[in-house]
């Protein structure tokens, strides 16, 4: 049985506690990094992370890119949408096809 976690600054994620997702508020990228690895090793199937922190610990997220679990998914934080999530989807298209012909007009 797996669980779901959210990593991000407290203001962006505290609401998720109410709906039954375990929240991991962090204050720095370093904290986010250690937490990410700990959660990944501890039966968490999905880890949502705010775009803001995801941007700072890209290399660490990349380590889980090839694995089926955990799925690390970017979500926008309270400070707004940086577009990193959409950008990631476009990147997979580029990887798969060679150039982004699906969403290039967006």
């Amino acid at each position: 049985m797996h669980k779901i976690a959210v990593i991000g600054d407290y203001d962006s994620i505290y609401g998720f506690a109410a709906v039954g997702v375990s929240i991991s508020p962090v204050k720095s990228a370093k904290e986010a990094r250690t937490l990410l690895h700990r959660l990944a090793a501890n039966q968490f199937g999905i880890i949502y992370i705010t775009e803001e922190y995801a941007d700072q610990i890209k290399e660490d997220i990349q380590k889980y890119y090839h694995k089926a679990l955990p799925a690390i998914i970017l979500i926008p934080g309270v400070s707004g949408n940086t577009g990193a999530g959409v950008e990631n989807v476009k990147k997979t298209v580029e990887q798969a096809i060679g150039s982004d012909i699906v969403f290039s007009n967006k």
């Binding site: 049985m1 797996h2 669980k3 779901i4 962006s12 505290y14 609401g15 998720f16 506690a17 109410a18 709906v19 039954g20 997702v21 199937g45 999905i46 949502y48 890119y65 090839h66 089926a68 679990l69 799925a71 998914i73 979500i75 926008p76 934080g77 309270v78 707004g80 949408n81 999530g85 959409v86 990631n88 989807v89 997979t92 298209v93 990887q95 798969a96 096809i97 060679g98 699906v102 969403f103």
Partner: protein, 218 residues
């Protein structure tokens, strides 16, 4: 193309011919695999993008609701209200095999089936805005889990497509032409050997005939 150093023997020729047949068959299979993966991927990635846009805008509005809720309550009472969640989401993961790629399938179960269990606080000391905010987040959760499933699948498929594409290209543009080149080289070399052998035999025969019968052609 520069021919790799090969020993022109029949054994080598047989080996290369077998290699060529395998390479051609592998190329065809891999090409089919790549095409099928790509088809599934393209189907999925459109869903992925649509879902992501939906989830992002839903989270955005949920965040806005939370900010409003926070504004009308003290920080301490808000923290206490959300401190002990009643609800818990458990995730059941399975794997589905799509063209030899294991993609995750998520099914989630909430600890209690009562959907009002997301309100982990008494209504007396919290603002009504908080209820709405929590509700909006609870509504987006199923979509978020679905997004996680699709996005991860897309990533894994993309990795596999890239790999297959490289293999197809390597076979098509390198291994198959190279093998064919080598086969051609060995065939020609063997033919040349046979010819030189034949001329030598003819020459020997001529010399022997000249010795035996004593006639000279000159």
């Amino acid at each position: 193309m520069a021919v790799k150093q090969v020993i022109p023997t029949r054994m080598e020729l047989t080996r290369l011919k077998r290699k060529r047949i395998t390479a051609i068959r592998g190329h065809k299979l891999l090409r089919d695999k790549r095409d099928e993966l790509l088809r599934r991927y393209l189907e999925m990635v459109r869903d992925n993008m649509a879902l992501r846009e939906k989830v992002e805008s839903a989270i955005h509005s949920a965040n806005r609701n939370f900010v409003i809720a926070k504004a009308s309550m003290s920080e301490a009472s808000l923290n206490t209200a959300l401190m002990a969640p009643k609800q818990e989401v458990n995730l059941e993961t399975a794997e589905r095999n799509v063209m030899s790629v294991d993609i995750p399938v998520f099914k989630y179960k909430t600890r209690s089936s009562d959907e009002n269990d997301i309100y982990s606080y008494g209504f007396a000391f919290t603002s009504g805005d908080l209820d709405g905010a929590v509700r909006s987040l609870a509504d987006v959760l199923p979509d978020m889990i679905r997004l996680a499933e699709i996005e991860k699948s897309c990533q894994l498929l993309a990795i596999e497509i890239e790999k297959s594409r490289r293999r197809v290209n390597a076979l098509e543009h390198f291994i198959i032409p190279e093998t064919e080149e080598m086969i051609k080289y060995i065939t020609m070399k063997l033919d040349e050997n046979a010819r030189s052998n034949l001329t030598r035999l003819m020459k020997v025969k001529e010399v022997m005939l000249a010795d035996a019968h004593g006639y000279d052609k000159k």
